[in-house]
Amino acid sequence: MDTESTHSGYSNRSNRHGEQSRRERRKLSSKDSSRSERSVIINTPYGPTQASPNHNSEPLLEVPTSVAGDEAPSLQDDNWGETTTAVTGTSELSLSQEEVVGLGKGSEDGLRQGCRRYAPLALGLCVGLLVLATPLAFLVLPAVLWPARLQACGSACEGLFLSVSCKLLILLLAVWAIFLRQAHASLPRVCVYRALLAILTLLLTLSYWLFYGVRILDSQDEDYQGIVQFAVSLVDSLLFVHYLAIVLLELRQLQSCYSLCVIRSTDGETRYYNLGQLSIQRAALSLLEFYYRDFPLHNPALLSASKHRAAKHLAGLKVYTVDGPGNLAGPAGGSGGSQVGGHSRAMISAAARRRDATHNELYYEEADHDRRVRKRRARLVVAVEEAFMHVRRMQQEEQKASPGDVMDVREAALAIFPSMARALQKYLRTTRRQHCHSMDSIQRHLAFCLTHNMSPKAFLEAYLSPGPTLQYGRERWMAGQWTLVSEAAVTSGLKEDTVFSLRCLDFSLAVTVKSIPYIQMTEEYVDPKSHKFTLSLQSETSV
């Protein structure tokens, strides 16, 4: 029995039933014997059964000359079904995923990326410098251009100078805090409010320059106090524009009025978040930050089971007309498709029986898996507890007394790790999470737990349940580049029943927006003395 054969890509022949197709299917499906799934495919003798997307719908046949000699052994091969492995769709898919991920990383234009990241910062710096320089210029220019004719002003001017400098300092710090910090995300479109505020600031400054130029420079005004007051009024207006900026950019979204439902497309993980009035792209950004915190790590290994079931269901019963072209009235193909005549009843009953088999299989498979996981988990817990019993934190006095056999945290972790490594690895393999944790990361986590005096249960929690995406290394995220897919414009605000989705390579997050209802609350005063009680053990009625 040849389970390691790699026959593929042979020319397609007409469909032969019976032993030959069974044998070919065995060869076809054993191509993926490296897959760890062991499942039995009970195939009907008719037609092709694999739903792997890259194969044609007809079975791959061997060269017919060698078949005749091998037919006899295949007939006697009774347990070929137990050792074949399933062809799932993921074998080809995962390969192509890695390819695309590798391509995707290199395809971004470095220069363009840098431009997009730093352009807002550069623009902000320009506007900020302009804003800083203008009042100073207003103050300095008269002293430079016509110093002789300028009236000296006393303490009032000094007070105004102080206020100008103080307000400029505050304005500078405030502008830096809101606008000039490093952006931690690059959004597809420019934020509308920021653009409007920049335009407003520029307009304000330009109009002040206009007035300055016409009224003061041209006419060479001598009243210096008036000029200083002019400069102070400019700084005041800029401070108020900055206040408007704070309200529009920061405060407006604090009060939550929409509830967003986020569903991951692969495994249906759902979370709900309350957000305020935001544009769609900023809401998407907040949601992605929440995604990295709340959603458990995306695990493609857990999805192969349902794909396998879908493949078997699709590759179900097919109906072939043997009566000729006159009977091609009804829909053909697939399980459940029925033709006219006696075929239909037989088809439906066969399909029903087959469906019974599928969910029966699922039930027993899941029960078996649960039992295995629990068994492994019990062994793991015991192994970890025993390992932790061996290591003990040394007290200060002991340290001075016996300097031999003293280890630091890292060595202690390495010392107790081997006793639990096997149990941990087996458990992770059963729950299909072995790719999330490397040995180095496990040892580091163990050292961390030992440093902080954690119990074995605390150490194990990281491995018993999948944690949020952010806790794993960057290479595990499988989601660095996100695409916002939306029917409405991404700079428009959130509204009731807005739907958009965030797509990355492997999966997508579908987001639905619902508004929080208007809550009408009334009050009712309860006098604390009004709580009175009687005991009704034996009621007595007077008649």
């Binding site: 053990l537 034996q538 009621s539 007595e540 009625t541 007077s542 008649v543």
Partner: protein
Amino acid sequence: MSFIPGQPVTAVVQRIEIRKLRQGEHLILGFSIGGGIDQDPGQNPFSEDKSDKGIYVTRVTPEGPAEVAGLMMGDKVMQVNGWDMTMVTHDQARKRLTKKNEDVVRLLVTRKSLEQAVRHSMM
């Protein structure tokens, strides 16, 4: 007054006829009842057997129609106008006694002293 489960209840009873007194718009009898199958029989101070859920007279207003007719505190009411009172709820008992279209109620009541009196007279 004790009852044996499965056997009919036997008791020595006294027939008391009370004429209702009109007070304002109410017809009153002048006593209070307690007990009933929906009440807690352990709280009954008058019953001999603390699992007895019958209707007992808990108070008799002085100079009222009930006292005049001879009703005493602690009596157990067995029948009212022919209606049984040993297996009724408290509210049903109240309703039987306070029917507006009846002017007179004929009660069958029992008390411990009645049985003793009969036993003495037989000896």
